[in-house]
């Protein structure tokens, strides 16, 4: 066998490796939305003091490596930005929340029952509600999936700096999979959600969390899991971080949860819809 054969063989191996390794090295579009002045957006939630710092510090750091698209705060941060635009209810996830690859949201949040998460930004005339809900989010949907006719969704990585955003719940009846598996199923691009189980802190000792995450995940190439838990552990409070990812097998879900980086391309799953979940959380 001559050299051309070996060159061709080697090129083939490299190509297969590149295809099977879920990476795309291009810059991601990044966005953030945060609210502190709830009283000025017509909602009764109490005012906060560090959510806008958390979001702006995240954007100022991640835009060293990725593309800054928007940071909307207070009355410019709309609940509708996480609500599917094609539902006809005034949602504006296109062209906002679902038109970036990575989105950080900072504000109040909570659970409705055990299978719906509500996040609280500001209401606006188009979507006149004081919260968005995982029951009307279609994030990262691709052609062929529901509500992708006019616009597909881009979101891959969602960071929810709110209380209960990735609520773990009791062993044997976990909350996070019940909340997020239906959302994952609606959008092949959405691969990873990072947040908190229990109450999260609004304070000067945690405003660096988004920035630190960006520095490690984007700057140092750490996995999302390492970057998120490091960011929470490094800034003082008894916050308990949590993450969730998915896959079509146990091994795939675990690999996604443990090894996924910002450079990974979707869907990072060989089958659809995903039927395995993998979570991590702080305890103690």
């Amino acid at each position: 066998m001559d050299k051309r054969f070996w060159r061709s063989f080697l090129a083939g191996v490299v190509a297969v490796g590149a295809l099977s390794f879920p990476r795309d090295g291009s810059a991601l579009d990044a966005g953030a939305e945060s609210v502190e002045k709830y009283s000025s957006c017509g909602c009764s939630s109490g005012n906060l003091s560090y959510c806008n710092d958390q979001a702006s510090m995240f954007m100022d750091k991640i835009d060293n490596w990725h593309t800054r698209k928007f940071w909307y705060k207070d009355s410019n941060a709309w609940n509708g930005d996480l609500v599917e635009s094609e539902l006809g209810t005034g949602g504006t996830d296109y062209p906002y929340g679902d038109n970036v690859h990575i989105l950080l949201v900072s504000g109040h949040g909570g659970l409705s029952g055990t299978s719906v998460f509500n996040g609280y930004l500001c209401k606006h005339s188009g979507y006149n509600s004081c919260n968005f809900s995982t029951s009307n989010t279609y994030l990262g949907e691709v052609a062929g999936q529901s509500y992708a006719a006019a616009h597909t969704g881009k979101l891959r990585f969602l960071i929810l700096c709110t209380c209960h955003s990735v609520e773990i719940g009791p062993a044997g009846d976990r909350t996070a999979p019940k909340v997020w598996m239906p959302v994952f199923g609606r959008g092949k691009n959405l691969m990873y959600v990072m947040g908190y189980t229990g109450t999260s802190v609004d304070g000067e000792t945690t405003d660096e969390v988004g920035e630190d995450f960006a520095s490690k995940a984007a700057g140092s190439g750490w996995t999302l899991k390492q970057a998120w838990f490091w960011a929470i552990e490094d800034w003082w409070a008894d916050d308990t971080g949590a993450v969730i990812s998915r896959g079509s097998s146990s091994a795939e879900a675990v690999n996604n949860r443990d090894s996924m980086k910002l450079s990974w391309g979707p869907p990072s799953s060989t089958g659809w819809p995903p039927s395995w979940w993998a979570i991590s959380w702080h305890e103690g």
């Binding site: 939630s45 909307y72 941060a77 000792t205 996995t223 146990s250 949860r257 979940w277 991590s280 959380w281």
Partner: protein, 324 residues
């Protein structure tokens, strides 16, 4: 009709009542917070000293020496002993790495982090898992061997935390979890707070964290430990807890929320994080409160000498929406 002259009076009265209601939150304290406050009151703390922090002067040469010492001796780096170190630098820190072992030094404080990224937040294969008591004991030994200059009475264990992994199956058609979950420990974190005199340092700084794999091997540490000047700045009386509490109630009740629950209370020296220079360390009260079930926990710091709240930093302007 004859009583029409009463209308303005009634309107003014209603408005006043309404305003009062709208701006008067009911402030409650959890039993734990009340117990902490009582315990502090019983200590009858009078004058408390402020400490001068010695500024850290970053130099690449001394950072390199520290890195060489760590990679040459620390057990976390044993797998890469004698191997070439690569160096990268950002505005905040310098990073020495070899393979998956990273050693970071913060330029503002000299705080350091050593981590084995092959093991941090990675459960890996475990032959024999250790318990929390073992983790605490192993961390104490590592602390003593790695930082002999830190006396045991200067570093108080504040807890052992675990990072847990779990996975399971979901039936997308029925929308329910099926089967049973597999869960395991990914790593342990044993945390220490610095003690300054009789008070702890609270905040992100003056902390040691030691990371262990589930089988009890140390996989890294984090140390934020500032040097103090030879002199103490001054000693002053702090606002007594009871006075502070009544001021806090007055301040929080101005909030528009219906109910505020104070569920955290700390008293100690405020220590900033690894990337912030700090000139002095003074006592503070930190309280945590929530507005209700959907609320974040607000952590607010108060100068313990004056009882005044510390204002958040000036915010940056956000982006404006494009016109539709």
């Amino acid at each position: 009709m004859k009583r029409i002259y009463l209308y303005p009076f009634i309107i003014v009265l209603s408005l006043a009542a309404g305003t009062n209601l709208a701006f008067s939150a009911s402030v409650q304290f959890t039993d734990e917070v009340l117990r902490s406050m009582e315990a502090l009151t019983s200590k009858r703390i009078g004058a408390v000293e402020s400490y001068q922090v010695q500024p850290y002067r970053f130099s690449r040469e001394s950072a390199r020496q520290r890195a060489d010492a760590v990679f040459g001796r620390n057990p976390v780096a044993v797998a890469v002993r004698g191997k070439e170190l690569s160096v990268s630098e950002s505005e905040e820190e310098i990073v020495f790495s070899s393979g998956k072992i990273e050693y970071r030094i913060a330029k503002a404080t000299g705080a350091e982090v050593l981590l084995d990224l092959d093991r941090y937040a990675v459960a890996g294969k475990v032959e024999k898992a250790v318990g929390e008591d073992d983790a605490r004991r192993i961390a104490a030994r590592y602390l003593q061997e790695t930082f002999p200059e830190i006396k045991p009475e200067q570093a108080a264990v504040t807890g052992v935390r675990k990072l847990m992994d779990g996975e399971g199956q979901y039936d997308p058609k029925k929308g329910v979890i099926v089967g049973s979950e597999i869960s395991r420990i990914a790593h342990y974190v044993v945390s220490y707070d610095r003690q300054l005199g009789k008070l702890p340092a609270i905040g992100s700084g003056e902390k040691i964290r030691i990371y262990l794999s589930p089988d009890g091997k140390v996989i890294g540490h984090s140390l934020v430990w500032r040097q103090f000047g030879s002199r103490r700045l001054f000693a002053r009386k702090v606002v007594p807890v009871e006075t502070f509490k009544s001021r806090l109630v007055r301040l929080l009740s101005e909030n528009k929320s219906e109910k505020i629950t104070v569920d955290r209370f700390y008293f100690g020296y405020f220590a900033d994080g690894r990337f912030s220079q700090q000139r002095s360390m003074s006592p503070c009260y930190i309280v945590g409160y929530t507005y209700g079930p959907y609320s974040k926990r607000v952590l607010q710091r108060f100068d313990a000498y004056t009882g005044e709240p510390v204002a958040p930093p000036q915010e940056k302007p956000g982006d404006h929406r494009p016109k539709e």
